[in-house]
Amino acid sequence: MQTERKIRVLIAKPGLDSHDRGAKVVARALRDAGMEVIYTGLRQTPEQIAETALQEDVDVIGLSILSGAHKTLFPRIMDLLKKKGLTDVTVFAGGIIPEEDVEEMKKLGIKEVFGPGTPTERIIKYVLENVPKRT
């Protein structure tokens, strides 16, 4: 039997934001691209998201947020991920995140931010290219 590595993705919705159209579209596109997608469902606390990523041992975490609360929530999520030792997980995000916040988010360790109008094809490509190398 051969190794059968699959990319495991967590799509997470932090905070009270309940816009799920984009998150679902992205989740579906990643699934159709052959990935194993775990979706947290809505209204997750940073603790829930970090703990889920930990238990599910995902390769990448995609945060979807349209509410503008990313400035409060993202730092908490990134902090918890670090505390749990999840430093080899690629974290990226999408939704309504003003351009002027993107730098700040990247400083937190969020590798990329995708706004409205992004083709899912580009997101798939991004994931494929940024899956952390693991042994």
């Binding site: 799920d20 509410s67 003003p98 351009e99 002027e100 083709p119």
Partner: protein
Amino acid sequence: MTMFDQKKLEEVKRERTRWEQTTLPNWLKQSRERKTEFHNHSGMQVKRVYTPEDMENMDYMRDLGFPGEYPFTRGVHATMYRGRLWTMRMFSGFGTAADTNRRFKYLLKEGETGLSIAFDYPTIMGYDSDHPMAKGEVGICGVAIASLKDMETLLDGIPLDKVTTSMTINGPAPILLAMYVAVGDTQGVPREKLGGTTQNDNLKEFFAQNLCIFPPKASVKLTTDIIEYCARHLPRWNPVSISGYHIREAGATALQELAFTIYDGISYVESTLERGLKVDDFAYRLSFFFASHNDFIEEIAKFRAARRLWAKLMKERFKAKSPRSMWMRMHVQTSGCTLTPQQPLNNIVRTTMQALSAVLGGTQSLHTNSFDEALCLPTEEAVRVALRTQQIVAHESGVTSTVDPLAGSYYVEALTNEMEEKAWEYIHKIDDMGGAIPAIEKGFFQKEIADSAYMYQREIEEKKRVIVGVNDYTIAEGKCPIEILRIEPKVETAQVASLRKLKRERDNRKVKEVLDKLHYSAEKDENLMPTIIEAVKAYVSLGEITEVLRMVYGEYKELIVI
């Protein structure tokens, strides 16, 4: 029966065949059409040309009638905009109650004719501003209203006997309505003069907006409490705004939006009849809320079909006698999901077209989105342009001079018919599933919407659908060319402090007493409106009231369908 002379119709048929064999092929030979097939958003095929043949079976009096008369296809009022223009109602709310109060006054000064409140997430979800889940969310996506005190500030200086107010609130709708009533009482406005709308459409939350707090049955119970209470005490209040907007924005097609919304309406009529009210005692106060998307004619057809469909349902299924029970009065919002952060000024053009469809479709009330829709809550400038868009349509376009100007267009009528027919198919299908709640539990609506949303996305990516500035006619975007509205964190600090102060200073014995009473009422399944009004007047907070209801009803967990 037909509206056309049989001989003339035959002539049209003959001539069309001839045209298809002679003129058309020549044109097609010279240049092919841009696509082999043309479709609207609902996936219906659009023909090359429409003729009287497409209205062959139309009966004017049966299918259209006169404005203000059954089946109301041409409008619910006899004079429509020749009499009164639609209500220009801009959905607004951000920061503290005082911030939003200033925005309200600004908009009223600029010519807005009705208010519409956007609440922040904690309020929408029934949490107080100091709840742990509220951290970072206070005032960010709407105005923070945790108690009657905030509502007093929000409505300060606004005469509730003159202005009507719409509130986009669902789970906690009884609480916000109670607060509004309380402010009305303080202003000395008689309750029978209090006009406005609570969205209060909990069903669509389960598959479109997702802001569900309680399980379906309890949610419908609360919706119905308001309908019943208004029928008895607030005759000018629209207790529910049966909303297709959210369904559409979640990704549904125009057809799905139409059918699912109407079905929610059916459910509320049924749940209210179960309370022992007669249909004509409350149906005239049910109102609707639709989206106006990009396909100009399709949207107009949808609005017209919706009115006719609802009138038939009320008359035939629910045996309404009063024509007013058959009216579908609607609010329309231009479609936010069509707006882009790329080249944001293009959004003004989209919104103008969408506003025009809504008006040609006969809406009673309209919100137009701002050009910064895909970036942030509207800045003052953006919202002013959006309001001006409506004013220009109203005063400069000329479409308001006659009622239902597009009636009789072969395309419009054919599409109106098709919309109605296909909507009936959905309605019967949902009937067969046992109604809206079983359909929700099966994930039926969710699946339909998720599939349409995904298809829409695919069409854009495959360029089957061109979105100007996004997948075609793009430019290097560079720095965002417009100013962005930002909500400062100090809003939360101030709001939390003021709420905590209130909680210290109010009569906390009384608070406990009313909350116990509420608990008891909820368990006994009484109409909760009277007790909630009593509670808000004692400055019991929104979170405290919701907490009691959460205890009694439990919390809902979404059924996710991807």
